[in-house]
């Protein structure tokens, strides 16, 4: 009764549970946090890391500080307090880095914050130049006083010329600073930032440029006056004057500027001539015997703006020459390819006017987020490596290095699907694991099947773990040495020799019937009737199997084997043999001498019948 209730109950339970599992079987989805990281209505907070980051407050604070500090640096420059200005500038740069880090971390490069960052970077660059130029311009003032006191018009002219270059630079910086002021101010106002400090800096920079212009005019006038009033001996002995010609007066990236200087005086030949660009020595060489100096300069890393050039030889200066460098278009190529282990190579070339641009900064964008910047090599080629997770990415590169007279260049976007090789490996590994399991399972099934059926055939079972078996304690009893023909016994399912001598004798096909009978009689004398009769049976079993091609005969019981001989000539004797065999072997009965002889008779009868059977 109980069984009648419980078994159906369990069956019903198992079926119902199975049905519920089966519903999900078609689309199995084990619980992992990724599966439940978000839904239409919310993200799973337990799957994310909690970070209380009120970025807007940080960003606003930094943006506000950047606008204010820009103003204070300029004010300090105007006040000629360069030490404080330098300190304030370093602080400004530090804030700028913090801001840029947040912009990068929060992927804001292409937003108003990114724009603010770019304006700020440009501002800082201009302020750096303004600080350096103003500092040098101020140093020239003390030199000017010294040379005037020394009544050295030559040195005073050098100061004047350098001052002219610096003035031009300050005015250029002012122009650029003014140029981006409206947009930067508007951006600050969008974020409700106080732009007063920044707007003040704009007017301060303008005043600074005006001051530099006025100072320079005074300086030039004083140098001219000193030149007129000073004795002639103050002039250099070998060269009286230097002139400079630059062709063309407007150039772009890749153009060649031909600088030609003439030295005139008593010994103008083979003198050293220096050519200055914006007060920085740009080229140097020796004049020929006639005092002519010529130099071809390739325009590469020069800002796109108006520049001042002059040539000089030992305190003799040429008149100032203006050269305008205009920006040109640049081309940026991009090649993306996946290397091993999810490493992606990003490379390309930056060219302008058909020439490579060396040493230019190139920014690499991944899905519109700037992830890296690198420099072009001497051949204009840039190259970077990005470790990426598997997935599809859009790559883009851009270059807007303002130290070159180039317009901003951007590569066409490229899309690359990064394959997860590790994933493929795991699939292969999984397949191999399953295949190995399947093979092992199949082998096990075959082995089990053979074992159950008693071996034989092409896959006769051999115990693969036989070597692990300990040797039996019972030693094999001594027996008659085998005949030479029986030297090589067939493979047996047991690695160790079987204990009963009769069995071994019987299962060895080459052993003669007489030998088996001799063994039988020996065992009968010893009182071991079961093993004695088994020896005879095993002999007949093997003989029958060989004769009638019975496969897996070892797995047959005596009765099953007997049934197989039903229509054979040996059937009669074998029937009697089997009957008595079972009585002794399984019934435990002892053979009487008569029964023993009868058994031998039936054994011989069966064996002879099998031998003589033509089937």
């Amino acid at each position: 009764m109980t069984r009648r209730i419980l078994l159906p109950l369990m069956f019903v339970c198992a079926t119902v549970v199975g049905l519920f599992i089966g519903v999900n079987f078609a689309s199995p989805e084990l619980y992992v946090p990724q599966n439940h990281s978000s839904s239409q209505y919310h993200v799973n907070p337990q799957y994310s890391e909690i970070t209380s980051w009120q970025s807007s407050r940080d960003l606003m604070e930094i943006m506000s500080a950047l606008m204010d500090d820009t103003g204070s640096v300029v004010v300090k420059i105007r006040e000629k307090d360069f030490e404080t200005a330098e300190r304030e500038y370093r602080r400004l740069v530090g804030q700028g880095h913090n801001f840029e880090n947040i912009v990068v971390d929060l992927e804001l490069s292409e937003t108003e914050m990114g724009e603010f960052n770019r304006y700020n970077q440009r501002n800082q660059e201009l302020i750096r130049r303004l600080l350096d130029d103003s500092k040098r311009f101020e140093e020239l003032k003390s030199l000017e006083v010294r040379y005037r006191d020394e009544k050295n018009p030559s040195a005073l002219y050098s100061v004047t010329y350098e001052g002219e270059g610096l003035k031009t630079q300050i005015q250029e910086v002012t122009r650029q600073y003014d140029q981006q002021a409206p947009a930067f101010t508007l951006l600050g106002q969008q974020f409700s930032l106080n732009t007063t400090g920044y707007l003040q800096s704009v007017s301060e920079v303008e005043s600074l440029a005006q001051e530099a212009g006025a100072t320079q005019e005074t300086r030039k006038a004083e140098a001219d006056t000193l030149k007129r009033t000073s004795p002639v001996t103050a002039m250099p002995a070998s060269v009286d004057s230097v002139t400079l010609e630059v062709q063309p007066d407007q150039a772009t990236f890749g153009d060649t500027l031909r600088l030609t200087a003439w030295l005139t005086g008593r010994f103008p030949g083979e003198q050293t001539v220096d050519v200055y660009l914006d007060s920085q020595r740009w080229a140097s060489g020796r004049s020929d015997a006639t005092g002519r100096f010529q130099y071809d300069l390739l325009v590469d890393r020069v800002r796109a703006e108006r520049h001042v050039l002059y040539a000089a030889h030992e305190g003799v200066y040429s008149p100032l020459v203006n050269v305008t460098i205009v920006p040109t278009d640049a081309a940026l190529s991009l090649e993306v390819r996946q290397l091993a282990e999810r490493n992606v190579s990003v490379s390309g070339t930056l060219t302008a006017a058909g020439l490579p641009v060396p040493g230019a900064e190139v920014n690499i964008y991944l899905d519109n987020i700037r992830v890296m910047n690198t420099l072009t090599g001497g051949d204009g080629v840039y190259r970077a490596f990005l470790p990426l997770q598997a997935g599809m990415y859009t790559f883009r590169t851009a270059s807007s290095d303002s130290t070159f007279p180039l317009r901003a260049a951007e590569s066409p976007p490229l899309t690359l699907t990064v394959s997860g090789r590790a994933g493929a490996q795991s699939v292969i590994t999984t397949i191999m694991i399953y295949a190995t399991f399947l093979i092992l399972f199949s082998m096990g099934a075959v082995v089990y099947y053979r074992h159950q059926r008693g071996g034989g055939g092409p896959f006769e079972f051999r115990n693969p773990f036989a070597f692990l078996k300990l040797p039996r304690r019972k030693e094999i009893p001594a027996r008659t040495p085998p005949e030479p023909a029986a030297a090589a016994p067939p493979p047996s399912e047991e690695a160790s020799p079987p204990p009963p001598t009769a069995e071994e004798a019987a299962t060895t096909p080459d052993r003669s019937r007489e030998f088996v009978l001799a063994q039988y009689r020996q065992l009968i004398i010893g009182g071991d009737h079961p093993n004695a009769v088994q020896g005879l049976y095993l002999f007949l079993r093997d003989q029958l199997a060989r004769k009638y091609r019975i496969r897996d005969h070892r797995s047959f019981t005596p009765r099953e084997l007997w049934r197989l001989t039903n229509n054979k000539t040996c059937f009669g004797d074998f029937t009697k043999f089997i009957h008595l065999y079972e009585t002794v072997r399984y019934g435990g009965a002892a053979l009487s001498p008569e029964e023993s002889e009868s058994l031998v008779r039936w054994f011989e009868g069966t064996s002879s019948a099998v031998e003589s059977d033509s089937d």
Binding site: C13, V17, Q34, P45, Q46, S48, E49, S55, L59, L108
Partner: protein, 293 residues
């Protein structure tokens, strides 16, 4: 045999759990992160009334009705009942981010509206560990006005909220927030930055309407999140009412499946509960009698 019985009983446990829990979003029977079982467990302990028919709510004077995550249309009768309820001097708190609640707002004559969308902000509190990127939809909104529900609450942490338009702003996002229309979790040129209201109040008749643009703050995931003292305090204020009514007729919080309605009904009356205990006792007694156990 005993083993067989034990196995049969054990096999029923997952079946029971499967049938008596829900995975529906916001469901009070959902014990996972996106369910509201914790919040509702607290409400039940406080004796909150689960409303299955809105027609009856006007009969609860000086009460507060919570309408969380509505997901189905309201009939004219329902809207009339809510209007009578609110204008009669009661309080309605509507938390919705899909815009379904706008039908209620319109129906009761309020000017406040929910603006569905993927409101995002640079003021966030979750960082996606897998992608290594921030979750801009985990918005931190600042409380801008003192109110009964925002007393001593400085910020409200939201989870994929929408925005609220109109009413008196009680909490809003920072200036650096945007509607992430394309869902790329970034600020795009066509997604301008700005401040968005997320919690507003409006007087409707003699009553008060509160509109919160995010019902997710009631979910288990948010309630269990450590370090959200402000949210905890805010939820305390929400639950702190003399009579608290919680709509179950139009809210996702009332969604159930499997045997939940039956079990809920069984547990809802003492007679049914006693009947179930009696049946189980008889079954066990029979098994002992038959020497199965």
């Amino acid at each position: 045999m005993l083993l067989a019985v034990v196995l049969a009983a054990l096999s029923c446990i997952p079946l029971y759990l499967h049938l008596t829990t829900s995975t529906a979003e916001f469901s009070r029977y959902n014990t996972q992160w996106n369910g509201t079982s914790l919040f509702f467990g607290d409400l039940e302990e406080r004796g909150a009334v689960m409303v299955t028919d809105l027609a009856g709510i006007p009969s609860y004077p000086d009460s507060r009705l919570l309408l969380l995550a509505p997901d189905r249309a309201f009939s004219a009768g329902d809207l009339g009942a809510i209007r009578s309820y609110v204008t009669g001097g009661n309080t309605l708190l509507l938390a919705d981010d899909t815009g379904t609640g706008n039908q209620v707002l319109e129906g009761i004559g309020a000017r406040t509206r929910i603006l569905p969308g993927n409101l995002s902000s640079l003021d966030f509190y979750l960082w996606d560990t897998q992608s290594g990127r921030y979750q801009p939809s985990s918005v931190i909104a600042s409380v801008t006005r003192e109110d009964l529900l925002t007393s001593k609450v400085e910020v409200i942490l939201l989870n994929k909220p929408a925005a609220v338009e109109g009413g008196e702003v009680l909490a809003e996002t920072s200036l650096m927030s945007w509607m992430d229309t394309n869902g790329d979790r970034r600020i795009n040129p066509d997604e301008p930055l700005g401040t968005y209201s997320v919690f507003a109040r409006e007087r409707v008749g003699d009553g008060t309407l509160y509109v919160l643009s995010d019902p997710s703050i009631f979910t288990n995931g948010m309630v269990q999140l450590p370090g959200l003292e402000n949210n905890t305090l805010f939820l305390e204020h929400v639950k702190d009412a003399p009579v608290l009514l919680v709509d179950q007729s139009h809210s996702r919080t009332g969604e159930a499946g499997g045997l939940i309605p039956l079990l809920a009904a069984a547990r809802s009356t003492k007679v049914m509960e006693l009947l179930m205990v009696a049946i189980v006792s008889i079954l066990i007694a029979y098994l002992f009698h038959r020497r199965i156990l």
